[in-house]
Symmetry: C2
DNA sequence: TCACATAGGGATAAATTTTTCCCCTATTGT
DNA sequence: ACAATAGGGGAAAAATTTATCCCTATGTGA
């Protein structure tokens, strides 16, 4: 586990939510778990662009922040299921609002992002 | 300017909004600009934990993504004002939803975050 | 004359996040 | 014996983001 060298800011709501949600795949993990994809292998299939490792790491952080809970079934082969805690569920409308804005502005965003990338990258 | 080595994912709304909003200070910048703090030096004072440099960089990205516009007054000493574009203004309710969730859960989040930090950091 | 405010950029270092690669668990089926 | 399955973790590399430091320019006030 990486050991932080600097303390995070915890002043306002934006700081606080950032600490628990600021990870490349966290919102997607919460979203898909909420949709019923509870097993790690399912989540990996839903988010193929993320490495298996980082999904595990971010799931553990979500668990430590009490947004998801984890059940380990003592069977072989192993079986694990994640689900949202009540606290985690309160985040769904927020993630929804974020995703909806992105969806609503899809074409414009894609073109803006690509235009900027091209001008810098080569 | 840093040149990306890998292309970003631009599949869904979450990917897209992430590309324009995923920067440590971007939401705060949009927020404070919306509140009327339009000059770079004001913004630096409102966000003292960020380095001057990174604020400039993130402001430029916000501008390239057409979320803010920048007016440079040809005077000495220099004067610059940022303001939200109409597009940028549509993000305010989203940022508001995010910040409100953080504010509403302030104590719980702070304690969860600190507890986790302590257990890893020393 | 000197310090300060204003805005911003280059170069480089440091911090942090994410990826890659490889190993381990134990059982079932071939 | 050996592969497949399902889940997980260590170590190191790569990618990315943020911080530090120094330099530009000019008018104002002490």
């Amino acid at each position: 586990m990486y050991e932080r060298k600097t303390l995070p800011n915890l002043n306002c709501g934006l700081d606080l939510i950032g600490e628990v949600l600021y990870g490349k795949w966290k919102m997607r993990l919460l979203w898909f778990i909420n949709e019923g994809h509870q097993r790690p292998s399912e989540l990996q299939r839903k988010i193929p662009d993320a490495s298996r490792r980082v999904l595990n790491i971010q799931l553990k952080e979500l668990e430590e922040h009490e947004l998801v809970s984890k059940i380990i079934y003592p069977v072989v082969p192993p079986k694990v299921e994640y689900s949202l805690t009540d606290f985690g569920k309160t985040l769904i409308p927020v993630i929804s609002a974020i995703g909806n804005w992105g969806d609503a502005n899809e074409e414009r965003l894609r073109s803006l992002i690509l235009k900027r990338l091209e001008s810098y990258n080569q």
